[in-house]
Amino acid sequence: MKQIFSGVYSSNGKLFTRNLVPGRKVYSEQLVSKRSTEFREWVPWRSKLAAAIKNGLRELPLRKGATVLYLGSSEGTTASHISDIIGGKGLLFGVDVSERVMRKFIQLCEARPNLVPVLADANKPESYREHIEGSSIDLLYQDISQKNQAEIFNKNAALFLPKEKTGLIALKAKSISQRESPKKVFEKEIAVLEKEFRIKQVVLLQPFEKDHAMVLGEKR
């Protein structure tokens, strides 16, 4: 086990995080025990953040005790690994609109003391502003397949993300245009993101996800 980022381990080409709730799986990932610590495999085919790390993401501004705002938390696959990394003292707000996936995420929140569910539309950050404002956000993470994904990200960054903190967004080209080439779509979206962020890196997520890119930026 080699530590590549704070709380992220690599072994034989696989990624792992230290399981915050030993003995419990979140999806169908493997559990591995090394010297009385239990690790959960972080599968890049299931989690875009893991895919970005595999493809050479240079920075992961997460450490023990960090506070994360996660837009589009879905059933909590990626959120659970961030939960592992930030540990018991950290905090993650998971925002999603769909009741269907929130059902599962709430169960996860009950098992993991650093997860908080917010059933709301990320496109309307005012609707959950009161809950988030009290915490200082270290990382804004977004994975939402909407046409205006960059705009949603900017809106939330403007409201919640302090200066010089990091934003990570998984762009999905096919939600924006079916016809234009992904490269062009990414260029346009990144131009939108430039308004709020200084872009530091763009990582394509092939082969794990088709026509997706992870964009790393620092809040202006």
């Binding site: 905090l91 707000f93 009741e99 929130m102 059902r103 709430i106 929140c109 009950e110 003391p113 997860l115 908080v116 569910p117 917010v118 059933l119 809950h131 009290g134 915490s135």
Partner: protein, 265 residues
């Protein structure tokens, strides 16, 4: 522990929101309508297999009994073609073609079938028939529930179409707040956006509404007009159901009939 309190509060809130979403009767009808569609598909698939299989034994029957359910009943309740009698056929498949069927059974070119093999085919037929029965129960459930959820809307659209439109819209509230032009195109989103991107592609005239008998019966060139009229009335009906309790379905239906008669000529 500020954060712990916040977390408890938000977990409670999210739970309540999820609960509310699925609390009403609406989501149950929506689910039932989706199941109904799949039950139809399952029944047809099994029936097709069963008919193909039985046709090795009695190939002429397929041409004479067009209704899948009637065919399966003959397979299950009568079975071997040697047992086909006028009375038995009438009981299971109705009056049509009875004499021809019995005659064909006598001189069929199909090969003989062993008891054990026939049993398998019959078992398949029974299971398919049971699915069909479940479908009918479910349809009655949808009719009953739609009447309670949105009486006016359900009467004008027909229960099944009403349930599908409701599912497409997401909830009665959303449906009631929709402009009628949106209701007209519910289910035709793909065609609509194809048109919006490229104006040379013609816009769709109807979405799910197409299933409605009044739209189907009208001549082709007038379907768009009929769909527009129907969508307008459906919009009114949905609003009446969501905001009030009055029964205005009869009046709406009458207006639609009138428009239908205009367009029929």
């Amino acid at each position: 522990m500020e954060i712990e309190k916040l977390r408890k509060k938000l977990i409670g809130k999210a739970k309540k929101q999820v609960q509310e979403k699925y609390a009403g009767r609406e989501s149950h009808v929506i689910r039932a309508a989706a199941v109904l569609q799949d039950l139809d598909a399952c029944f047809n698939l099994l029936a097709e297999h069963c008919i193909e299989w039985y046709s090795m034994h009695f190939p002429e029957l397929k041409g004479m009994v067009k209704d899948n359910q009637a065919f399966l009943k003959l397979v299950y309740f009568v079975g071997e073609r040697g047992k086909f009698s006028e009375k038995g056929v009438k009981e299971q498949a109705g009056e049509k073609n009875v004499k021809r069927i019995v005659a064909a059974a006598k001189k069929s070119m199909g090969s003989a079938i062993e008891e054990g093999m026939l049993k398998e085919v019959q078992l398949l037929a029974l299971n398919a028939l049971n699915l069909r029965e479940e479908r009918d129960f479910l349809l009655r459930f949808i009719e009953k529930e739609m009447e309670a959820v949105a009486g006016n809307f359900s009467k004008v659209a027909g229960a099944l179409l009403a349930a599908k439109l409701l599912g497409e819209a997401g909830s009665l509230r959303k449906l009631a707040l929709m402009p009628s032009s949106t209701i007209q195109l519910l289910g035709a989103e793909k065609a609509l956006f194809r048109h919006l991107r490229n104006k040379q592609v013609k816009p769709p005239k109807h979405g799910l509404i197409y299933m409605h008998p009044l739209v189907q019966k009208v001549a082709r060139g007038n379907r768009g007009k009929m769909a527009r009229a129907l969508a307008g009335k459906l919009g009114i009906a949905a609003k009446a159901d969501y905001f009030g309790k009055t029964d205005i379905a009869a009046k709406l239906q009458q207006d639609l009939e009138q428009r239908f008669n205009q367009l029929k000529e």
